[in-house]
């Protein structure tokens, strides 16, 4: 125990003595948190639209007006020619072409269910799906407005199903509320995994590990002596990050903070174990950083931060189970935004504990004092 205490103390002395490392561990992640939470938005705010009105009727003009009035759309041009509109899309001046065919209004009154054509530039998939969704809504609401007028004149009454929707947990759909907890989880994991992987390899590069290996230090003492200091740094980062998110973005804290921190400890132990495992197989810091990045990139891209896990293919959804980052993000979002209780996030706990045990046992086992 005395040995372990001293190992940890030594690690802290070294960390605090490293003038470059300390700001890197604290200030940089907070800057990233602020920048990314604001910038990484899936919100589609400005869809540029070209209207091709071949009908020039009351209905088509009402549609044009309705689109123009919506602030999500910018009406780039109202044209009569399909080619002009297409040209605009080709030159990347427009995202959507809405084409109203000739005789649209006539067919409409004859109840022939005329079709409008929507051409969407799908290079930006997000813009395309969200934009076309908005547009469909506008067309549907226009449809609803003119239906009663029609039915009055014709005299038949149609029953319509009304759908009213409301955004729970994030009523104003504020993106930072959704992103900040996730990015915080991501940064904490990324920092600790890289720091722990680099640290042990550095000892190997400098040769200090040689000196340590001839001492009676136990393997678990050595690993734990590395794990505890970085766990503390990770927790400081989570605390500062949460505080910054609260002060800057005013993110809601609906669930228990104890739950968040309790889970954060397990998660950090888990990723630190992976970092230490990597370090045991790397001879140089360069090797360690490349392997660490291999994992970090996969973890980040498949953790549900940028693409919802539910919309991934089935195999990829299963692949998120051994991804500690995915669980971390899920927990922070659920607990902070939804106010979930321990029972709601029990699976995240279970998976992470299993991973933490696996990684750390492997790290102790693969750390060889003897060659």
């Amino acid at each position: 125990m005395q040995t372990l205490r001293y190992l940890i103390q030594k690690e802290f002395i070294q960390i605090f003595r490293n003038k470059a490392l300390l700001p890197m561990m604290t200030a940089l992640p907070i800057i990233q948190l602020i920048v990314l939470s604001n910038a990484a938005s899936n919100d589609v705010k400005d869809v540029r639209l070209v209207m091709v009105d071949n009908d020039q009727s009351e209905i088509s003009r009402a549609l044009t007006q309705k689109i123009d009035a919506n602030d999500r759309f910018t009406l780039v041009e109202v044209s009569f020619s399909h080619d002009t509109a297409f040209e605009l899309m080709q030159r990347n001046k427009a995202d959507i072409i809405l084409e109203v065919p000739a005789n649209f209004e006539r067919d409409y009154h004859r109840k022939e269910a005329p079709k409008v054509q929507m051409l969407v530039n799908a290079i930006n998939g997000q813009q395309a799906t969200v934009g076309s969704g908005y547009l469909s809504n506008i067309i549907a609401s226009l449809n609803k407005e003119i239906q009663p007028q029609l039915s009055q004149t014709i005299g038949s009454q149609m029953a319509a199903v009304e759908v009213s929707s409301n955004n729970w947990y994030n009523p104003e759909l504020k993106y930072p509320h959704f992103m900040a907890p996730g990015i915080l989880a991501e940064l904490a994991a990324l920092l600790t995994i890289v720091l722990s992987a680099m640290n042990v390899v550095r000892e190997r590069e400098i040769g200090t590990i040689e000196q340590i290996n001839v001492t009676p230090i136990q393997k678990w003492e050595f690993i734990l002596g590395k794990l505890v200091p970085f766990l503390c740094i990770g927790l400081v980062l989570v605390t500062v990050g949460l505080l910054a998110s609260k002060l800057i973005f005013d993110i809601p804290v609906r669930g228990s903070l104890f739950l968040v921190f309790g889970y954060a400890i397990i998660n950090l132990v888990c990723v630190l174990g992976l970092g230490l495992l990597i370090s045991n197989f790397a001879d140089t810091q360069q090797q360690a950083i490349f392997v660490a990045f291999f994992f970090v990139l996969i973890f980040i891209l498949m953790c549900g931060l940028f693409t919802p896990i539910e919309s991934m293919p089935k195999w990829a959804q299963y692949a998120t189970i051994p991804n500690p980052l995915a669980h971390f993000i899920s927990v922070t979002r659920k607990v902070l935004l939804k106010g979930s209780s321990f029972w709601d996030i029990r699976w995240e706990f279970i998976y992470t504990i299993i991973l933490a045990v696996l990684f750390n046992v492997a790290a102790v086992w693969s750390y060889k004092k003897q060659q």
């Binding site: 070294q14 400098i206 040689e210 009676p216």
Partner: protein
């Protein structure tokens, strides 16, 4: 009981053989030197004896414990100073020392007697970071750290490489005083002049031990006549000597040429012989062999040098 016992140790890295059935015994309170050039296998042997590396074959024990089965006991009883400075450069002198004391379950105070003489020399700089120390002071600190847990056997892998002449001398004086405290010291060095400071030495080359004996005895045993020749025309003199029939070996040796012959000659006879072929000679004298002469002589019997 032998402090270190090595029997038929083999080790190879892939195709490269680092050690070929090495065997020697080292007693308590003895300074045993491994003398040989870089690549002789000295560090590999150190790593095996300090339980960092497993041998391919053979047996070795340190302080009465087998290096393979009882490696955990060995780690408590030995001090190791690797060839490369491997203390924490970002910790101070004092922090390094108390770190190594603590991980061996002891404290600086407890074994202060043992390191006192050495530590006092670096104590004025105890707040300085180890990385900012001079080469000689680094070695002293490393020796303190290797000693702080009162080891029975001390392993010093090239402790004086890259250290200035004064510090080297001081370092060897420290080893002599440690010897009096009954610590067995296995030390390696590429400097032949340090060999005479050991109780016994093993001359190593290409993973093999050429000879083991005390340096004094080695000098006595060296029967071949040895001459030191001083000339300003070293190259021509060497070429001539190497082709001469009486020559056994002729090697440049500082400002001299060291010549061994098949049978004894008069120094003047050699001088005349050289001057007759037009090589001006300043001096020829019969000289006592150094360890380097003995080493070169032994290594040549294995590998005949090309003329």
């Amino acid at each position: 009981m032998a402090a270190v016992l090595v029997e038929n140790i083999d080790k190879s890295y892939g195709n490269v053989t680092a050690l070929k059935s090495i065997g020697f015994q080292m007693d308590d309170g003895e300074i045993f030197g491994l003398i040989g050039p870089d690549g002789a296998g000295k560090s590999t042997l150190f790593r095996i004896l300090t339980t960092l590396l497993l041998p391919d074959g053979g047996r070795a024990s340190v302080a009465g414990h087998d290096v393979i089965q009882e490696y955990k006991h060995i780690r408590k009883k030995v001090g190791y100073m690797p060839g490369r400075f491997s203390l924490y450069q970002d910790l101070s002198v004092e922090e390094n020392l108390s770190f190594f004391a603590t991980i061996f379950g002891t404290s600086i105070q407890e074994n202060y007697d043992l390191v006192k003489d050495i530590y006092q020399q670096i104590e004025p700089f105890k707040k300085r970071l180890a990385g900012k120390l001079s080469g000689g002071m680094k070695q002293k600190l490393a020796l303190c750290c290797a000693l702080i847990h009162k080891p029975e056997v001390l392993f010093l892998d090239e402790p004086t490489t890259g250290v200035d002449a004064v510090s080297r001398k001081e370092f060897w004086e420290m080893l002599q005083s440690l010897k009096k405290k009954n610590i067995a010291i296995l030390v390696s060095t590429p400097y032949m002049d340090e060999a005479s400071l050991c109780d016994r030495i093993a001359l190593m080359q290409n993973g093999e031990i050429l000879k083991i004996d005390s340096p004094g005895q080695m000098v006595i045993d060296f029967q071949k006549p040895l001459y030191a020749i001083k000339t300003e025309h070293t190259y021509t003199a060497l070429s001539y000597l190497r082709s001469a029939s009486f020559t056994r070996s002729a090697l440049p040796f500082g400002e001299f040429i060291h010549l061994t012959t098949n049978k004894p000659y008069e120094a003047l006879q050699i001088k005349d012989d050289l001057e007759r072929v037009g090589i001006p000679i300043q001096e020829v004298k019969r000289t006592a062999p150094s360890i380097e002469d003995i080493f070169l002589d032994l290594s040549q019997t294995n590998e005949p040098i090309d003329a």
